[in-house]
Symmetry: C2
DNA sequence: CATTATTGTCTAAAAAAAAGACATTATATC
DNA sequence: GATATAATGTCTTTTTTTTAGACAATAATG
């Protein structure tokens, strides 16, 4: 299948994914740098196949970038203003890959559809950053994690999409217990607190935070974690539920 | 402009609106009954013009049905499963209006696009039910308010869309102060309480509810409302902010 | 002018959240 | 092996918020 055969896709609709990971008290976004001359990054995205649901399309796009399929993801908003499209930038991308198109026997007309107005469905994904090995697509020259507070220049309205995703994560962190999808299988209470403080950008008191989390009765206490540090070793915990069961309040 | 000229629209994408009103302790949905033989209602919906933003499209669709343009509305979810489309029902609709198409010089091919798979963007609108005079479109035989708890049979996945809209309204009622869009310009505290109890489906104590709302410092107290009832007359209140400023927390 | 049905507002009790205090413990140092 | 250090686990106290209870105010009615 040619990746730019417009008959396969729903036209003028795309999916953009904000893939979030957590490490070192930083919320990080996985961003490919596309192969064009300018210094511009984009959200990993793609199109929806005619015989594919939205969620399946998002999962496919995520699997292509992260190599993992059991991922927590959720749509959070549609972006459909008239100004968001940028035919000029798309032209640059097409120009860069022109030789490849010629080889495949594609004409300018065949690929012109990507320059039309697009409506984009925003998904956010929460992953254990240590499980992910970023994958470059044919169109990328790199694909790396960036601190959400220091994003490189993003194309189209992608900076806005990231900020809206963060807003949603903040809102939902207290409704569903989705934050644990950002942590590894086992973790210490300090790591949970670091995560909450980073996402919500506010400090918690250690004693009260621990009580709050434990009172939710969602964590299973495991053995202690001995790091070699000269202090009392913290317990490890594991989240009781799986990805699919994390939806506790909404939906 | 012909309403079924596919060149004007973004293909395979529609907007469905859950228009909510409040009256008599009931949350009500505005539902047109489409002109086909079967007893089936649909959400008021439409397509997105190529030169129109999503919000503008939704506003246009709403204005067509309700006659008012200053409306609180917000997208809440995209519906894009493979099963949601129903070519059979669309065929029935086309059959019913066949004569009209022939008159306009349209062929079966010209209108076949409406039977393809559609992705639908769900919007909900909150209106003062007393300001709205429901309007039938050319395709409707009626357009009325229905208690959300006793909906008539709905086409496609529209019943699910309504329930998801209600879920969002419940979630957002405590984050933004959108509920007041369902009330008239002025209202008594009892009406606010009735609204909250209906939407959230739980009772509040009168004294504590009043304190909670007044402590928000969002209401302006006006004169008393004398109804002729043999009891103390309640004060009237007005919401301080306008529609556009209702977004206090998110976004 | 007493009665009735609500409404507005105050106070008391209960619950929850925030702050403070302190014992525990894994390792390093002596 | 005793002591010091730094972080952890947990308890108590204080403060704030929420819930519950109580009662005066008032607009008709008869």
């Amino acid at each position: 299948m040619n990746i730019l055969n417009k008959e396969d896709y729903i036209e003028q609709v795309s999916i953009d994914c904000v893939i979030l990971g957590f490490h070192d008290r930083q919320l990080r976004v996985l961003l490919p740098k596309i192969k064009i001359l300018k210094n511009i990054w984009t959200l990993p995205g793609g199109f929806i196949l005619q015989n594919e649901s939205l969620d399946d399309a998002a999962l496919r796009i995520l699997a292509e970038r992260t190599g993992i399929r059991d991922i927590y993801l959720e749509q959070f908003r549609v972006f459909g203003s008239l100004e968001r499209s940028s035919p000029g930038l798309m032209q640059d991308v097409l120009d860069f890959h022109w030789d490849k198109f010629l080889e495949s026997g594609l004409t300018a007309e065949d690929v012109a559809w990507v320059q039309r107005r697009f409506i984009s469905i925003g998904y956010y994904a929460l992953v254990d950053i240590h499980k992910v090995v970023p994958v470059c697509s044919e169109l990328d020259e790199s694909c790396e994690w960036y601190d959400i507070k220091e994003l490189p220049p993003l194309a189209f309205d992608h900076a806005e999409i990231v900020m809206k995703a963060l807003g949603y994560l903040r809102l939902m962190l207290n409704h569903k217990l989705i934050g644990f999808n950002l942590l590894p299988e086992t973790f210490t209470m300090k790591e949970v607190q670091d995560l909450y403080e980073t996402v919500l950008d506010k400090p918690f008191r250690r004693n009260n935070f621990q009580k709050m989390i434990l009172d939710l009765d969602i964590l299973e206490r495991l053995e202690k974690k001995f790091t070699g540090a000269a202090n009392k070793a913290p317990y490890l915990y594991r989240f009781k539920n799986n990805i699919g069961e994390a939806d506790l309040h909404l939906e």
